[in-house]
Amino acid sequence: MLKRRWGLALAVLLVLLVSAPTSAKIQITYWHQWTGQWTKVLEDIANLFNESQDEIEVKAVVIPENFRERLMSAAAVGDMPDVVSLTGDGNLYMAERGLFLPIDELMGDEWEAFKEWAMPVVWEVNDWKGHVWALTPYIDCCSLYYNINHFREAGLDPASPPRTIEELDLYTEKLTRYDARGNIDVIGFYPSWGLDYWGTVFGGSFVDDDGAPIFNKDPKILAALEWITSYSHKYDVNKIVAFESGISEERAGALDPFISEKKSMEQQGQWVIINIANYAPEGFEYGLAPFTPYPEGGREGGILVRSAYGALAIPKGTKHPEAALEFIKFWIGYGYEAQRAKIFEWGAWMPLDREQKIWQQATTLEYLKQFPQFEVFRNILYMQNWAVMKTPVDSFLFDRLSAAKDYARLLEKTPQEALDDAAAEVMKEYERVRR
């Protein structure tokens, strides 16, 4: 009796095993860091890719925290995903250490055609030591958003946003308001973003071609930091810091200081168009300057591009490099223009094809009708006036640049001292890595 039961159980198991659906498709894993509402968007991208494929299936896996640690641990034990979105820094360091496959080599004969199709920024930022280690599917452009009602109340012409740093400072004085306690209630403008961004707008360079720090010797970077520090002198450092800390934790969505009308002007990326549409209060009117104001000798429409910005890489050790490459091509839109147009719509990730064919897709045209403000960012994008910062010590560099900005704006050091100290620290780190 017992034997018969065992036999029956075995037979059922065999039937189940045989009838289990088996996928003949190549399965690849894609790691990214987009959390919250964005996880679903990335899943949709993976699904869209899967629909377009007969032989490949990608699975998007969100790594919500400690992405770097997870990636390093996976590398240490040789259990890497097939594709990763590199949204942290340190990517060129990892590339130098052989963590990724060279994409230019992997593309073979197709590489030249690809370079004809894509804007150089797609590969330039990860072109390092003779190879391209990752491809960038989008870059973010910035411009100056301004509150039209605040402009009117301050007697400023909403049709004439500031175009230079001098004008920006002048407008800020007129737009800044204080509360009964003497605190800043609404600030016209404050350069919240890092010195890396403002140094770029001012036309400076942070590293040389080999990635060694040179920022303390560049008068344009010094001018940028002096300008940031001027706010601490002009508006009282304690009041500025108090105001900044009040809004620094609430940058996203409805609590974005520009959307919540705590800042009359703010330099921001194209994604804020969607945030304003979703979260702005009734009666909120805004305008967009053609580019972020910059000083004489600065970079018009300047964008800093770092290797970190969402670049897609293929870790060494993947069993399916061709499949992984196909997914990267899909994300960028190379050969997948219609699908890439949808991705643009889903996440405001502007495509980077030279001929702007993706911008001509029906989906995109419809989207642009709904949000014509994207044209401002499209113009900035195709100015191609970006600065690419490439160094294997970018993690340490950004950490020290942030500290240098703090020291200067809190008036703990002069801007030159802050830059010199940071550069000395970064140089030491650079020399260590180069050894």
Binding site: G90, R97, R181, N238, V241, F243, S245, S402, A403
Partner: protein
């Protein structure tokens, strides 16, 4: 020669503790020992370690950020440990009073200890917010002056974190409370007969009687402060202007952000030696102020 039964029981015993044993060997002893080796290497986790002798230790001595991190950590320890001891004993003494509803008060003081650090850090970020925080709101309400910048001011960022640490004193206070209840009532009665007032009873009876517990809390506090990490990681990220760059935070950054696992291992060993040294020092000095009931002084 052990008999077969003894051997069998030994084996059974080992089998029963094997889950812990394996965990200890793999997750504690192995990393502990291997970190000695890694501290002598240039190691970034993604490529094989390369032996460099004592270079990491030499670099540490010349690293201004290590000095800064050590200063911040010592600053925190020097102020937090005595303040948490005094405040912990004060809270325990108050919670030891015989008044109605004491269980409620005890619960209230203990609650902060069970709030996850991440949650309490976020709450304190807002409490200490210079412009919108309730603390500065109250300062303005009562004194009509603007409050300070707290964690946004490099001079006040560490005191702010100390203040926040004192809020979560419940665990320590609970241990003091337990030890207070162990002080024999007869000693207080004798002191009263000798004419001691409440303050004198605390100084001459309570403190000596709970001094072993104070020693325990001081040592645990010492270890805890040198490993201070989470609040700084969440609330300040080491800023403003490196003022909250604590040693453990810089160690973490070195290991996982700056690809310097070998250097971080050397930093970990320095931290271990500092904690070990201070613990030994505290123990050796303890004979001067710790009173053990069962032992003649």
């Amino acid at each position: 020669m052990a008999s077969a039964v003894v051997r069998k029981r030994r084996l059974q015993g080992l089998l029963f503790i094997s889950p812990w044993l394996v965990g200890f060997l793999v997750f504690t002893l192995y990393p502990f020992v291997s970190s000695i080796y890694f501290s002598l290497t240039s190691y970034d986790v993604i490529s094989p370690p390369e032996y460099i002798g004592l270079e990491n230790y030499r670099n540490m001595m010349a690293d201004p950020l290590v000095r800064k991190a050590l200063y911040n950590t010592f600053y925190y320890a020097v102020f937090f440990i005595p303040l948490s001891t005094i405040w912990g004993i004060c809270v325990a003494l108050m919670l030891n009073l015989k008044v109605r509803g004491m269980t409620v008060y005890r619960t209230l003081f203990y609650i902060p200890s069970i709030v996850p650090i991440v949650a309490s850090s976020m709450v304190w970020l807002w409490l200490l917010n210079p412009q919108y925080g309730i603390i500065n709101g109250l300062i303005y309400l009562f004194f009509k002056v603007p409050g300070p910048g707290w964690i946004t001011d490099p001079r006040l960022s560490k005191p702010s974190l100390i203040l926040m640490g004192l809020w979560g004193i419940g665990q320590t206070a609970l241990i003091y409370l337990a030890s207070l209840q162990d002080v024999p009532e007869s000693l207080y009665e004798s002191a009263e007969l000798d004419g001691a007032n409440a303050f004198q009873k605390v100084i001459h009876v309570t403190i000596p009687m709970i001094s072993p517990v104070i020693l325990f809390n001081v040592i645990m506090g010492l270890i805890g402060t040198f490993q201070y990490f989470t609040q700084a990681y969440i609330m300040t990220g080491g800023g403003p202007a490196d003022s909250t760059l604590f040693y453990a935070l810089y160690l973490y950054n070195s290991a996982f952000r700056f690809f310097k696992m070998g250097y971080a291992s050397a930093m970990a060993w320095l931290m271990f030696l500092v904690i070990f040294g201070l613990t030994v020092l505290t123990f050796s000095l303890s004979s001067r102020w710790v009173y053990y009931g069962g032992q003649a002084r």
